[in-house]
């Protein structure tokens, strides 16, 4: 009997040691690699291209495209999931393979001061360099292009499609175009030659050098300024505020038309003091004439325990922005709200009677207010 007990105890001890071993090994892997979604990638494919902006370091390849600055080992992907390293080179695996391609009204992006009612051929490739808890498109932004069903739409084919459907613009949107940078850049060059404008719907989380190169081919950008609080950026979006502010300044410097979207999430980004600070910064940095769209939040992805934003809160944000000196302020995701209309900043008269994606009346003529003849900032022709 004693022998049996002894054996059982030994067995127990070995089991416990084994279990601890497995546990510690797993824990070690977890601690060493704090980005559990960095999966190994096994192959290059037709939609792989040499990546731009990276450098070799002693511990791997450092991506210099966005401020995450991922150091990527062989056969591994960066945080954005579509920059991979193979055989001593970095590749983008998001070139010519959008998983979403639709024709949208330009107002849907939203762009309110850029060719009103123009059609926009909109594409997005899987992947994102942030991890917002409220992502609307998480099923494409939080996965790799290897995991989505994709179209085969190389830059020349994409431009042809846009022409075929008489789209005046191509919008790089839905997920995060910074992560399919090479595709955006090559397509933009071709589109510009064909007289099609390039629109960038982005989180603005990009490094200076690649942005300056791309800005030369961009016509408009709508940047999601998710908050003006760095702590919120870190906890809500897994990013930082400062690079986004820098992006806004560089785009402005490079004469890219900029509109800003600020999503008001209850308890996260609806603090009026922070909104006031944000607007004051925009004014101080020469961005007072950039339209600001305050958008209503509805529960999405992981952030689905919150209510939608009260309309009164959004109206307060608009008022705060106007008082701070922002010239054009709009409300998004609240159908038929009066703040959908454009009022001349100079004379205060309604110059664009907008309803949804339709324009009922447009009194912007040759880029000026029909009533007071003051220029209205934007791209009108």
């Amino acid at each position: 009997m004693k022998n049996i007990k002894h054996t059982r105890r030994e067995f127990m001890r070995r089991c416990a040691v084994g279990a601890c071993g497995i546990f510690l090994a797993d824990l070690f892997t977890f601690i060493r690699d704090p980005k559990p979604h960095q999966k190994k990638t096994e192959k290059l494919w037709k939609w792989s291209r040499d990546a731009m902006y990276y450098e070799k370091t002693t511990s791997g390849f450092r991506c210099l495209k966005c401020p995450n600055g991922c150091v990527i080992g062989d056969k591994q992907a960066g945080l954005c999931r579509n920059r991979v390293v193979f055989g001593g080179k970095m590749y983008s695996i998001a070139y010519g393979n959008p998983c979403a391609a639709h024709i949208d009204p330009i107002e849907k992006k939203p762009f309110y001061h850029f060719l009103p009612t123009a059609k926009s051929y909109s594409v997005g490739v899987a992947g994102c360099n942030l991890a917002c808890l409220n992502c609307q498109n998480w099923q494409i932004s939080q996965v790799s292009p290897l995991e989505t069903q994709n179209y085969d739409l190389m830059p020349d084919a994409l431009v042809d499609q846009a022409k075929q459907y008489k789209c005046a613009t191509i919008a790089y949107t839905y997920s995060e175009p910074i992560t399919f940078y090479e595709y955006v850049l090559d397509t933009s060059k071709l589109a510009r030659k064909q007289g099609i404008r390039n629109l960038f719907k982005s989180n603005g989380y990009i490094c200076e050098e690649p942005l300056r190169e791309l800005a030369g081919y961009l016509d408009g950008a709508n940047i999601d300024l998710k908050s003006f609080d760095d702590d919120v950026y870190r906890r809500l979006n897994a990013g930082r505020l400062e690079p986004v502010l820098k992006t806004l300044k560089i785009l402005k410097e490079n004469n890219v038309w900029v509109e800003i979207t600020n999503l008001l999430i209850p308890g996260w980004s609806d603090d009026m003091a922070v909104i006031k600070k944000m607007c004051e910064w925009l004014v101080a940095n020469g961005l007072a004439d950039c339209p600001v769209h305050f958008s209503r939040f509805t529960p999405m992805y992981k952030l689905n325990r919150l209510s939608s934003t009260p309309v009164a809160t959004i109206e307060k944000a608009c008022e705060t922005a106007r008082k701070a000196g922002i010239q054009y302020v709009y409300i998004g995701n609240v159908p038929a709200h009066p703040a959908e209309q454009t009022y001349c900043h100079s004379c205060g008269k309604m110059i664009i009677d907008r309803r949804g994606y339709a324009i009922l009346k447009n009194d912007v003529q040759m880029g000026k207010c029909r009533f007071c003849q003051k220029p209205i900032p934007g791209v009108w022709s």
Binding site: M12, D26, N137, R235, G267, P299, R305
Partner: protein, 725 residues
């Protein structure tokens, strides 16, 4: 601590101990029901949560009971036992108050917990209470044995179960109607406090009585002095002003106010905010314009969002309005103004029951519910329900479901989820159409359906804010509709009440949005395995299997209740109480009876338990098809629950007799094995086997496992007898 000297002393002490065991049962059952209900609210109301939390509950209690074995020397005095009971009495209230604080510390504000979070948080939240209750049970057995030198584990077990049954009926069936969670626990604390003081006053010095009394009174004042239930709701909802909260048989309802907007929550999940123009217009008009003259309309869900206001724009329409939680339609204080129209007929009963019983025929049926993220919601997307609806419609009738929007891309998981529902609906209606919007609206009819919704709405209704050609371009709508339709997989199986594939798809979709931490599961499995090995012998393994079967069938019957009536939130109290009563009856019966005493009897009971689990599943399936009066179904399920519990209770008592080890070791080992089996069973069967293979396969596996176990016990005992000879 010698044996008690006189027969009178022993009788008096035994009475005292049975009262304490009875109290232990009371605290256990009320704490379990209230804490699990609160955890369901905390973790989004998914039935998977019941499985995980009950499993963790049992495992932690087992850990406590096994730890008790090692702490007997330090704690085996009656005074300490009573001291621990006093602390245990307070823990359910503290657990409920503390759980919201723990969650807010662990998760970012407003984030829906993933499966890892549920696992970790439930372990952390339940640990103090569960550990201590297991610990106290074993200490109690040790105290009793030290005093009278007899194995009274069976007695303690049966009185504990009796306390559970009594408190279950008083608190979880009667008082729960009148009192919110913390108030209920405060009453429990006071009742137990008085009993503890009586025990102390009868057997101990005044100083001990004084200290305990001061502690009890101070705690009672704190618990009753503030409206903790409201405070907790406000805390959990980020400081919003709570203007209404109420528990109903179907869940907890809360209404808050924030910057002039009313927000409505069910089990802390936001279900709407006042007038939701976009969704209301799409839901109503996409369906209504498909019918040439919609006169009779049935709407299910969305009343708090103001959906009725849109329906009333059709002047000829008479509307029957039902809610999955009829509580939303009972209190006029926060009902939407449109619901007071004479053209609206409020349905005061559960909608599925209404559809089964009504004799009306409907031109349009609007199902405005969240997707089948729970078994309760899945009931509105099944072959059985759509069949019932079909009988209440005609050739031109239209039904609409709102599925989560595929936005700009339809992922693999979402495609499958959409396909299962579309395929189920198309089994009854010749035509289906999906119109994308805030949601993907799945329309079905036997007549043609039109995708040019915006222009058709403009012709019929003038004052829409969103569904018009300004916001929706029909060619765009048509293109996207065709795209989604082309992505449907028509080879997927159909969604059923008891084979809820759509619900499982939603769980997969939910899991795909969360990160996994494999170490949590490895660690849990390692702990379970270690505990099993520590206590291994065929009898305790048989008891483990009994716990496994009993708890699994218990949870499967709870899920069955949810599928049939959606009121598990309320019925959980009654069913768990019945289960505990059954354990008490079984255990008590075996203490008196001469039958089933040996290992052959144990093996026989094990076989019976396996057969009963198959019988339970057969009965539930039969009831779901036959659908007799609600009272008959209640009675049958309660009877089945009782049978399973009685058999489990009988096995526990037989096993204490068969066990050859010391009392403390047997109490902690057997009690622990019973609980580990229960925890592991619930975890494996309801989270893995049932979703993968369904109800019948689960029952089959239970039957086989019990059969094998019975064989093992029989062979082992025969060999032991041969060795002795």
């Amino acid at each position: 601590m010698g044996a008690l000297r006189t027969q009178e002393n022993r009788a008096f002490a035994e009475r005292r101990w049975t009262v304490i065991a009875f109290q232990l049962g009371m605290i256990g059952i009320v704490g379990q029901i209230v804490v699990i209900r609160e955890l369901m609210i905390l973790f989004s109301g998914n039935e998977l949560v019941i499985g995980i939390t009950m499993a963790n509950w049992m495992i932690l209690t087992a850990v406590g009971s096994i730890a008790g074995r090692f702490a007997v020397r330090s704690f085996a005095s009656e005074k300490k036992w009573i001291g621990l009971m006093t602390l245990l009495n307070l823990l359910p209230s503290l657990t409920v108050i503390g759980m919201h604080w723990v969650k807010i510390r662990w998760l970012p504000y407003g984030v829906d917990p993933g499966i890892d979070d549920i696992m970790i948080l439930s372990l952390v939240i339940l640990f103090p209470f569960c550990f201590l209750s297991g610990f106290v049970f074993v200490i109690g057995c040790a105290v009793v044995f030290e005093k009278c030198k007899t194995n009274l584990t069976g007695l303690i077990y049966s009185w504990e179960a009796a306390g559970s049954a009594f408190a279950g009926i008083l608190f979880n069936v009667i008082l729960i109607y009148f009192l919110p969670s913390i108030r209920l626990l405060a009453v429990l604390f006071i009742v137990n406090g008085i009993l503890l003081l009586w025990i102390i006053s009868s057997a101990f010095r005044r100083r001990f009585l004084g200290i305990t009394a001061v502690f009890q009174i101070a705690a009672a004042v704190v618990l009753l002095g503030r409206d903790w239930d409201r405070i907790l709701r406000e805390y959990a909802l980020g400081g919003q002003k709570v203007i209404y909260y109420r528990d109903t048989p179907y869940g907890n309802l809360t209404v808050t106010e924030q910057d002039g907007q009313r927000n409505y929550y069910e089990n802390d999940i936001w279900i709407g905010s006042g007038d939701d123009v976009q969704q209301n217009e799409e839901t109503v008009h996409f369906a209504m314009i498909q019918h040439p003259y919609p006169r009779r309309v049935l709407a299910i869900g969305g009343s708090v969002r103001g959906l009725a206001a849109e329906l009333l724009k059709y002047e000829q329409a008479e509307i029957d309005y039902a809610e999955i939680n009829p509580g939303w339609l009972k209190d006029t204080a926060f009902m939407h103004a449109s619901l007071f129209s004479p053209r609206i007929n409020i349905i005061p009963i559960e909608p599925r029951r209404f559809v089964r019983e009504t004799e009306c025929f409907y031109d349009v049926v609007i199902i405005n519910l969240p997707e089948p993220t729970t078994a309760a919601l899945n009931r509105f997307y099944t072959h059985e329900f759509i069949g019932e609806l079909k009988r209440r419609t005609d050739e031109k009738s239209v039904i609409v479901f709102g599925l989560t929007s595929s936005a700009d891309y339809l992922s693999g998981e979402k495609r499958k989820a959409h396909s299962v529902i579309t395929r189920t609906v198309s089994g009854f209606f010749r035509r289906t159409l999906i119109l994308p919007g805030v949601k993907d609206y799945l329309l079905a009819s036997d007549s043609p359906l039109a995708a040019d919704a915006a222009s058709r709405v403009e012709k019929k209704i003038k004052d829409t804010k969103y569904v018009n050609t300004f916001y929706i371009q029909d060619d765009w709508l048509q293109r996207r509709s065709e795209y989604i339709h082309s992505m449907m997989d028509w080879s997927v199986p159909v969604n059923h009440d008891f084979r809820p594939l759509a619900y499982f798809d939603q769980i997969r979709l939910w899991l795909s949005s969360a990160d996994y931490r494999a170490w949590i599961y490895i660690l849990t499995a390692a702990v379970i395995l270690a505990l099993i090995i520590m206590n291994f012998d065929p009898v305790s393994f048989g008891l483990l299997m009994a716990g496994w079967t009993g708890a699994t069938v218990e949870v499967l019957l709870l899920i069955a209740f949810q599928i049939l009536f959606a009121n598990v939130y309320f019925m959980m109290g009654l069913l768990i109480t019945v289960f505990m009563a059954g354990l008490a009856v079984g255990s008590r019966f075996m203490m008196e009876s001469a039958r089933f005493r040996g290992s052959g009897g144990f093996a026989g009971l094990q076989m019976l338990l396996g057969a009963a689990s198959v019988l339970s599943v057969a009965a539930v399936t039969f009831l779901a098809v036959w659908m007799p009066a609600q009272a008959v179904i209640y009675a049958v399920i309660i009877f089945l629950m009782m049978v399973i519990a009685v058999l489990s209770g009988m096995m526990f008592t037989v096993s204490t007799r068969l066990s050859e080890t010391a009392v403390v070791k047997s109490a902690s080992g057997l009690y622990g094995m019973d609980l580990i089996g229960s925890g592991a069973g619930v975890m494996v069967m309801t989270i893995l086997i049932y979703p993968l293979w369904g109800l019948w396969a689960s029952a089959g596996i239970l039957f086989l496992m019990n059969g094998l176990c019975a064989l093992l016990v029989f062979v082992y005992s025969k060999r032991s007898r041969d060795e002795k000879h």
